[in-house]
């Protein structure tokens, strides 16, 4: 355990005073706050230009109290849990609230200076005044399409430092007393390849906060400021109390699990990602000591992306209904060694943090294996965010660009097989339908299917990964792929087998077939050439020998497992019996 973690844990063990809450007023207040964040979220989604905000809902909105406690947050992406915290902390550190006035708004994105998680995520924070008194902050953060840097979209796994990833914005005032700082807006938007879009989206963000601020002001005024303050304290206390109850049920001790990043994008050896969870009374420490060194590329996870990853894990593992507010963060202590991929030193690049976040989430899930009751256990999943992108020149000289992230199998649970073909952990993005892909881009999708035999064998089988095969229709098509898990697959539980691995193949089933590494940049392919990616399957649960004959028969009938793989995993005797059922 790192020294700062030990200290933090000691501090945290001083349990807060118990508090009598007004249960009814608090529940009504929570609903009212969620109504405000929902209305902010709707406005943000409807008005924004960035595809990531509009279509993939890669944004979040929230309301903080005057001290910087998160009261309510609206988000569709777990990686955004607590993503607004860093910005608000930076604001309160840098600026004196006494100097803020109504109509001010602040902006930031930097992971090192302003609690960001990567540069395309820009946050705007707006203080909310009632009768001249600072009562709250409205905040939102959204993934902008481009913020400059070495590549379009600003994210390249190959970036060597944050200076290659785009414009860094420390926490800074963008509007003063209701007047937008046009010069600053101009500077920021000029640094984006899509500057008009930036200019508009930032104004949308300011407008969203104004709306949230107005509604908060109306609510607090209607309730009375004292009642509002009491309800805030109740809801924060209740949330932390609720999580503490869950933590108290866990056995004391330290429990570790290791997942692997098979390379860091710069040809490194496999990198261990180690999570150790230590329940101590009603507090919980999550430490990443033993995790490998920071990457030369952009796979590093800055502090707030790590926090979001851990918050996601805790919510998923201990209490999925837990409200996302500062109360939830209170019983948790998070630490990672300086200079590791989970706590990189400035100016390490971190644009492509998501893959690492997924692996870290997998490590935290793994560390909980020994301490959760069986009904909450899940074998490891495709803890990845495989990204493929294809681009080609248009006849008129422009550029087509198609990119998406691909799901995989999830881990088996004690009472059921894993889910096939889904996004796990910190993301949950829609695919691009094949018919939409082929309508918009000069590519053909030859196949979009489940990967047979990719589910880890077990009493309950892991879910299957996805196969996607794309054919280029033009010469000079440029392919980039960012994936992992070609050495280490998803581990099973209680004797369950490991799930299938990632593969990437050029021109499969032809005499030009070629196996590719799982991180490819700017590979040029010609007309008629194909690229096929397989994403990993999930791990199994329980010994394969305990799988029922009926389940094996069904898998064989459905072609989910091939006969040779079935015989290898379950034995020829069982296969005979299963085949007799068909």
């Amino acid at each position: 355990m790192t020294p700062q973690a030990q200290k933090a844990i000691r501090d945290d063990l001083i349990t807060s005073d118990k508090r009598e809450i007004n249960a009814i007023a608090m529940e009504v207040f929570s609903n009212r706050m969620l109504s405000i964040t929902e209305s902010m979220a709707i406005q943000m989604m409807r008005s924004s230009f960035s595809t990531q905000i509009k279509e993939r809902r890669d944004f979040s909105v929230g309301i903080f109290d005057a001290r910087g406690n998160l009261i309510a947050q609206g988000t569709h992406i777990p990686l955004h849990l607590g993503s607004l915290l860093g910005a608000t902390e930076a604001l309160l550190e840098r600026y004196d609230v006494a100097n803020m006035v109504e109509g001010d708004a602040f902006i930031c994105n930097d992971p090192y200076l302003a609690g960001g998680t990567h540069l395309p995520d820009i946050a705007v924070i707006t203080p909310v005044f009632i009768e001249g008194r600072l009562m709250a902050f409205a905040a939102n953060i959204g993934h902008h399409s481009d913020i400059g840097g070495s590549v379009p979209g600003s994210i390249s796994a190959k970036s060597r430092s944050i200076f290659e990833e785009g414009l860094r914005i420390p926490i800074i005032r963008i509007a003063r007393a209701g007047v937008l700082d046009e010069d600053l807006l101009n500077l920021i938007s000029t640094n984006s390849r899509l500057s008009e879009e930036r200019r508009l989206d930032i104004q949308v963000q300011i407008a969203v906060n104004n709306r949230g601020g107005e509604e908060t002001r109306a609510l607090f005024t209607r309730m009375g400021l004292d009642a509002a303050q009491t309800a805030i304290e109740d809801v924060l206390f209740y949330t932390s109390e609720r999580l503490r109850r869950r933590i108290e049920l866990l056995p004391a001790g330290s429990f570790s699990f290791t997942t692997w990043l098979d390379d860091d994008g710069s040809g490194s050896d496999p990198l261990p990602l180690v999570a150790t969870v230590s329940p101590r009374g009603d507090a919980l420490h999550v430490d990443f000591d033993g995790t490998g060194p920071q990457a030369q590329g952009a796979l590093n996870v800055p502090r707030n992306a790590l926090r979001a990853t851990v918050y996601y894990c805790i919510k998923a593992l201990l209490d999925p209904e837990l409200m996302a507010n500062s109360g939830m963060f209170e019983p948790l202590v998070i630490s990672a060694p300086k200079g590791s991929i989970a706590n990189p030193n400035f100016p390490a690049a971190c644009g492509a943090r998501s893959i690492t976040c997924q692996k870290l989430a997998g490590a935290v899930f793994g560390a909980f294996r020994e301490i959760l009751t069986v009904d909450r256990l899940v074998a490891s999943s495709n803890d990845l965010l495989p990204t493929i992108s294809f681009s080609a020149s248009k006849p008129d000289g422009g550029l087509y660009h198609y990119g998406e992230t691909i799901g995989g199998g999830s881990g088996a649970r004690h009472d059921g097989d894993g889910m096939d073909a889904i996004h796990v952990h910190v993301t949950n993005s829609l695919n691009l339908p094949v018919e939409a892909l082929e309508s918009e881009f000069p590519f053909l999708c030859d196949e979009y299917s489940l990967v047979v035999d990719s589910g880890g064998a077990g009493r309950q089988r892991g879910g299957l990964g996805i196969a996607r095969q794309i054919r280029a229709l033009h010469d000079g098509t440029i392919v980039s792929v960012r994936s992992d898990s070609y050495i280490h697959g998803a581990e099973g539980i209680a004797g369950g087998a490991t799930g299938g691995l990632s593969t990437l193949t050029r021109n499969p089933s032809s005499d030009r077939q070629e196996s590719l590494p799982l991180k490819v940049s700017y590979m040029v392919i010609g007309e008629g050439e194909t690229v096929r990616i397989h994403t990993p399957g999930g791990g199994g649960f329980g010994l394969p020998s305990e799988r029922s004959i009926e389940d094996i028969a069904r898998d064989l009938r459905d072609g989910i497992i091939s006969r040779p793989a079935a015989e290898r995993d379950y034995g020829s005797e069982k296969i005979e019996a299963a085949l007799n059922l068909l």
Binding site: P320, R376, I422
Partner: protein
């Protein structure tokens, strides 16, 4: 003559009868018969005819909304179904959109596809996105596959090839071969069910259609036959999720369109009743036993959507946009281990139901709270047919809610009500502000058994100033079935840039669709002078994916400039900006063919003599810690006079519902028989 509207719900089958000569409505309710829903419909109609002394030959119309298809999907009681699809794509149904159903809860898993993998078979054939043939349909392979599938005992078969929305030739070719080879099998073809792009949603919708097809056809046949046997001269109509009427013939071909038919009829009915009453902006608020349905109506037009799930399976057909939240009368209240009061999402449903109903319920529900507070009749409901055990409800709320929170029983019951109301208000605010409307301009249209009971509190919480409670709100969906037009939606994908050429293509498509729509209305036996056609184009800026629907007044080959201007304006209204110079993509052409059904709502409601005469008693009702218990007059709705104010607090009772009016609010019956409550 008499027109009969029917709504088949999970617990009750409701009836509304209109005398076309007088405009007078009668209402009736009996228990549903889930094993064969047509039994309750036919029994009910017999009883209705007897009770109201109507000759079968005098029935001029029967329209019914039904959840038969939905329940079949939820309970997975459809038939063994196969899927024929393009080589390489049999797992589209299993992959879906590659998302998981719950972000945090790993125990919630996506449902297994309705067609098992061994019955999902691939055939060599391929079109590109322009609809050009890259590879012809391999008929021999199809024949072999059909032989193999028929051995697996399939009763229905769906066909979905890539890009068939552009060119249906391969699907039609395959359909012919299937019809010849497997004559007894129900066939559902994607280009006929939903000729729109996005293969997962199209496949899912087509598969659902096949899955429920054979049993729905049996159900419709049985219903038609039994009504004929009883001397009713008209064939029953059914309702689709878009709130339009369909003949049984069309419904048998497209049964998946009936998935949301009951609630849709309720919303369309609300729109008609609301428009007659002169209300511009409405949020419908339909509270049932397990859920609350909320939807927005502006200027008599409900909002439509085409992305809904049924039991986790997407159905991408145009339907009334109804927002459903898991809070209803049966929602269970509990105090969690950290001391918060939660209401729902668990529900006691119809069984075991609320404690006070004495059907085995042990956990306090929202209905129990209303009984404790004396808002609901604490002795009996449904005109005295259902006895109530208030003491048991009070005891449970004191034990399970009051004690852990250190508050009194009535405070606990009031707390349950407040928490539920806050949750429902949130949904109402969301559907209102999502469309950019000001909540203060909204009228809350309350129906369902428990809508009027909570409407006053919900309106106050949400900032709504006006409430409309229609007659017999508990049977509003059945009444809605009397207020619908015949309609069907047609769509053709275009995906062309809105240039002169693209516009020409769109106009040609619309012209053909008009012919198609006319032919369909002809088949539905709609007279030419009652036919209407609503044309629209879905479009987006190049690079976007969210479509905006632009209504057209007609097919106008010179209309491009006007269309582009309308699009820019609509984009600005919806998103706050437009992008001059950016090219616009025409995604699809849409046509709704409508056959108008005569159904005027007249202001002929007569009402009772006086408020005093309508008063049936009074009881102590609890209104929160500040106001406490207040003596509240109880009125019989049918006896209240038109146009006379009743000051709150007051309770207005009728067979299917109870309306609460709070202090500071005023209720009055309007000329259509609605209760209007204002703050």
């Amino acid at each position: 003559m008499y027109r009969i509207g029917v709504d088949v719900g999970g617990t009750f089958t409701d009836f509304t009868v209109t005398n076309t000569a007088t405009g007078e409505n009668r209402y009736f309710k009996l228990s549903s018969t889930p094993a064969d829903p047509s039994v309750a419909i036919v029994d009910g109609i017999e009883q209705v005819l007897k009770t109201f002394d109507i000759a079968p030959a005098d029935v001029s119309y029967i329209g019914h909304g039904t959840t038969v298809a939905t329940n079949m999907i939820i309970e997975r009681r459809g038939v063994p179904t196969a899927l024929i699809t393009t080589k390489g794509f049999r797992d589209v149904l299993a992959i879906g959109r590659q998302t998981r159903p719950a972000l945090y809860d790993v125990s919630i898993t996506k449902p297994d596809p309705l067609v098992e993998r061994f019955r999902r078979r691939e055939i060599n054939e391929r079109l590109n996105a322009k609809g050009e043939t890259l590879k012809g349909l391999d008929k021999n392979e199809l024949e072999t596959v059909l032989d193999e599938l028929s051995e697996t005992g399939i009763k229905a078969l769906s066909v979905c090839f890539l890009h068939s929305y552009r060119n249906a030739a391969h699907e039609e070719e395959a359909a012919q071969i299937i019809a010849a080879k497997l004559p007894g099998v129900y066939v559902s073809v994607s280009s006929r069910v939903l000729p729109e792009f996005r293969e997962y949603e199209r496949t899912s919708t087509t598969v659902l259609n096949a899955y429920v097809g054979p049993k729905m056809a049996d159900y419709f046949d049985r219903l038609e036959e039994q009504l004929r046997e009883r001397g009713i001269p008209v064939a029953p109509m059914t309702i689709h999720s878009n709130g339009g009427l369909l003949s049984i013939e069309t419904a048998k071909r497209l049964p998946v369109t009936t998935c949301l038919s009951g609630p849709a009829a309720g919303v369309i009915g609300s729109a008609v009743v609301g428009a007659a009453a002169g209300v511009g902006k409405i949020v419908t608020y339909d509270v049932g036993g397990t859920s609350t349905d909320v939807s927005l109506i502006v200027d008599g037009r409900p909002k439509f959507t085409s992305s809904r799930d049924v039991a986790g399976y997407p159905v991408k057909l145009p339907m009334v946009d109804i927002h459903v939240i898991g809070a209803g009368g049966g929602s269970i209240a509990h105090v969690d281990d950290a001391g918060a009061l939660k209401v729902g999402p668990r529900s006691a449903g119809a069984l075991p139901g609320p404690i006070a109903y004495q059907r085995g319920g042990e956990e306090p529900t929202l209905t129990d709270a209303n009984i404790c507070l004396n808002r609901l009749n604490p002795v009996a409901l449904l005109d005295g047919r259902m006895p109530i055990d208030r003491a048991a409800a009070v005891r449970a709320i004191e034990d399970r809610i009051g004690r852990p929170l250190s508050i009194s029983g009535e405070e606990a019951a009031y707390g349950i009500l407040q928490v539920a109301v806050a949750n429902m208000s949130r949904a109402i605010r969301a559907v209102t502000t999502e469309q950019g409307h000001d909540i203060a301009e909204i009228t809350l249209f309350a129906f369902g058994g428990a809508g009027p009971l909570h409407a006053a509190e919900v309106a106050r919480e949400a900032g709504i100033r006006r409430i409309l409670v229609p007659q017999e709100p508990g049977t509003m969906c059945a009444r809605g079935a009397l207020l619908l037009d015949v309609s069907l939606d047609f769509v053709r994908m275009q995906l062309v840039e809105a240039t002169a050429d693209g516009w020409q293509q769109a106009c040609e498509a619309l012209g053909e669709m008009l012919k198609e729509g006319n032919a369909w209305l002809e088949g539905e036996k709609v007279d030419a002078d009652l036919r209407e056609f609503h044309l629209a184009i879905d479009a987006h800026y190049a690079g976007q994916t969210h479509d905006i629907r632009i209504p057209l007044t007609g097919v106008d080959s010179d209309g491009l400039a006007r269309f582009l201007a309308d699009f820019a304006q609509a984009h600005k209204a919806g998103y706050g900006y437009d992008i001059p110079g950016q090219s616009v993509i025409i995604v699809s052409c849409r046509l709704q063919a409508v056959g108008r059904v005569p159904k005027a709502i007249t202001a002929t409601y007569s009402g009772g003599e006086s408020v005093a005469a309508a008063k049936s008693g009074e009881r102590e009702v609890y209104y929160g810690p500040q106001e406490g218990w207040c003596t509240t007059p109880i009125f019989r709705r049918s006896a209240l006079p038109v146009g006379v104010d009743v000051a709150g607090p007051a309770i207005i009772d009728e067979m299917s519902s109870t309306t609460v009016v709070l202090a500071g609010q005023t209720a009055a019956i309007d000329a259509f028989g609605n209760i209007i409550i204002t703050n």
